[in-house]
Symmetry: C2
Subunit: 382 residues, 2 copies
């Protein structure tokens, strides 16, 4: 139970034959009201998939009745035929639920550049509607691609609930990480309040997850509110709870990143601005040499500093401190504690970078570069 933890929602996940494995591949989440408020954020990739182009129009008025998601195909770079498939999918949901297609969000994930089988998707929609349940625990499995486990999170407030599900294991990078996330709440909030809370949360969670530097064409995070609890929580309290749920899901995405053997947190402190802290953390998170070194349990801090040097952030190379799992290996740009004091064998790795250029801070989550990552991504389409 994830998206149905909040009252006022029903969901289902079914196998429509889009995945060659026969695993579930169509998910549906329906807001049963009384309110139908929503907010969503999308990939900043300029090459956007058809479901993203569609959903950007749907969210404009802040009203969403349902969201339908498929794995087994990204429906991206599939031209007019692909857009018509997205449109037909929304129409099928709308017809079955007796709502407007313009209030149905669509998400797709899978291989880019292949047409989705429209007939299978639409048959899947019918099956999903028939299977809708307020106690569903199947939707979160139907959105998985290379994920090895479903990702869900629930926050219970004082009489109100936030629930969520997420998918994503590869092509995880900022603005947003490559993933689909559906969040639901029974709190009585309007779309503007939801939008503010959602942007606040995603900017600090999913946007700071960067497993492989590759930004998706299909990312979408949606938040639907049913108002079924009858309670309108304080905006700051709700925003804080949503941040916690998003952070929980982001950590689950990180932990299931393709081939990862280490979960790496890069904590940048002493930056002149928060944006510069993010830029530094992201540059390190995208260094293949740093990531391969972590895979080899090698505290190669020179690769951290050489990545910092590629940024525009304010810093003096000879003032920077770097620690790894609590051992300060570099102080003021010079060797400090011996490398062999650092133990990188635990799965969790903390890299601390103090730029000594200000008071701002940010943490970027990433993964190591492993043989499994190469294997999985050299054989994905075939």
């Amino acid at each position: 139970m994830s998206v149905t933890a909040a009252s006022g929602f029903a969901a289902a996940g079914v196998a429509a034959g889009l995945k060659s494995t026969g695993a579930p591949d169509v998910a549906l989440v329906v807001n049963t009201g009384p309110r139908k408020a929503a907010a969503a954020v999308f990939t900043s990739n300029r090459a956007k998939a058809n479901p993203v182009l569609w959903s950007q129009q749907v969210i404009a008025d802040g009203i969403v009745e349902a969201i339908v998601l498929n794995s087994g195909g990204a429906n991206c770079f599939t031209g007019a035929q692909g857009f018509q498939t997205t449109h037909a999918t929304a129409e099928a949901v709308a017809e079955q639920l007796d709502v407007s297609a313009g209030d149905v969000l669509v998400c797709s994930t899978g291989l880019i550049g292949d047409q989705l089988d429209r007939g299978k998707v639409i048959a899947g929609v019918a099956a999903a509607v028939a299977a809708l349940s307020p106690d569903d625990a199947t939707a979160e499995r139907a959105i998985m691609t290379t994920d090895t486990v479903p990702k869900t999170a629930v926050h219970r407030g004082d009489g109100w609930v936030i629930g969520g599900m997420a998918k994503g294991a590869g092509m995880l990078a900022p603005g947003l990480a490559t993933m689909l996330v559906v969040l639901t709440t029974d709190a009585g909030l309007g779309s503007e309040a939801l939008d503010a809370a959602l942007r606040h949360a995603t900017r600090r969670t999913f946007d700071r997850l960067d497993s492989d530097g590759c930004m998706s064409t299909n990312d979408q995070v949606s938040l639907l509110a049913s108002g079924a609890s009858g309670i309108t929580p304080d905006q700051d309290e709700f925003a804080g709870a949503l941040l916690d749920v998003c952070a929980d899901l982001a950590r689950q995405l990180q932990a299931d990143a393709e081939g990862a053997s280490h979960d790496i947190a890069i904590e940048v402190t002493g930056a002149a601005t928060e944006d510069e802290a993010v830029e530094v953390g992201r540059a390190v998170s995208r260094s293949n040499l740093f990531k391969a070194a972590v895979f080899g349990n090698d505290p190669n801090w020179g690769r951290v500093l050489s990545a910092i040097g590629t940024t525009t952030a304010r810093f003096d190379p000879y003032e920077v401190d770097v620690s790894m799992n609590g051992v300060r290996v570099c102080h003021a740009g010079e060797p400090d504690r011996p490398r062999d004091e650092v133990d990188l064998t635990p799965r969790a790795v903390h890299v601390g970078i103090d730029l000594h250029a200000g008071d701002a801070t940010a943490t970027i989550l990433t993964s190591d570069l492993t043989h499994e990552y190469v294997h999985e991504n050299s054989a994905y389409a075939s």
Copy 2:
């Protein structure tokens, strides 16, 4: 014979004990004149190694007597002690050759963050001076780190010669690729002419090589001119020849990139500007997903388009064409020829991207992401 192919130069490579393997690790190239003109370009990484900081001062007056290079240690983030080691190395060369230390370029390559053994370097300098030869073929081996073969190139003009040697296999990325290059010529050109020709050549060759997106702290490309041929070639003819030599060395660097099993040329056409063509090519060259797909001989063109979508270059996603090894797999942002018509088994892979946004073009050279790359870079420092 590489840097000594041009008359007016002597060189040597010796083993000074910096590498644990006992392989040659100190190289020296001396300009015996009559002219001592030079130009050099350096890494744009803001974290610069001590030899780069030193050499930037040396090149300011356009006069260089000699260049000394060591492998076995980058001498980067080694503080005042490290800078003094670089200074002492230049002083040792100067004393032995009876020239000014301010006219001695220094280059280092190897692990960042370890002190170089100053005594070993200085003893190596003495041994190299004793071994100097106008027919040397050892210097190009003494600058190797993870390189599997030495890289040399020679161009013979009408009475004048350009020779060069290069090292670099990992941390190969732009501005400059991670590498050391020494180019020599006996043409009678001054430092300004050399500088113009060198910047023209490096911008189109080494700067368009991006094996792993990781920019070095130690890159340096130096061009020394002895004038010993007594001939002053036409500037355009010389610049064209230098471009050829640099392109030859860049291809050798690409072919020896760590763990690579494919040499990938990403040719971007139809860009609005040359800079935008480079930005697009570089974005694709840095996509781990694209690079892993090529390793798996998988023509996954969606990963090309999703990388283009992260750039600021002008393009309409629904006008882009993509070809792989001559097969147009994507036309106007939609699937074109079937993926299985593409044969990616040859080592050489050509990716053609037509943005249909203008007339500018650029080609970026990169490598695939392989198990060998991960293996080599997870075990480098240890």
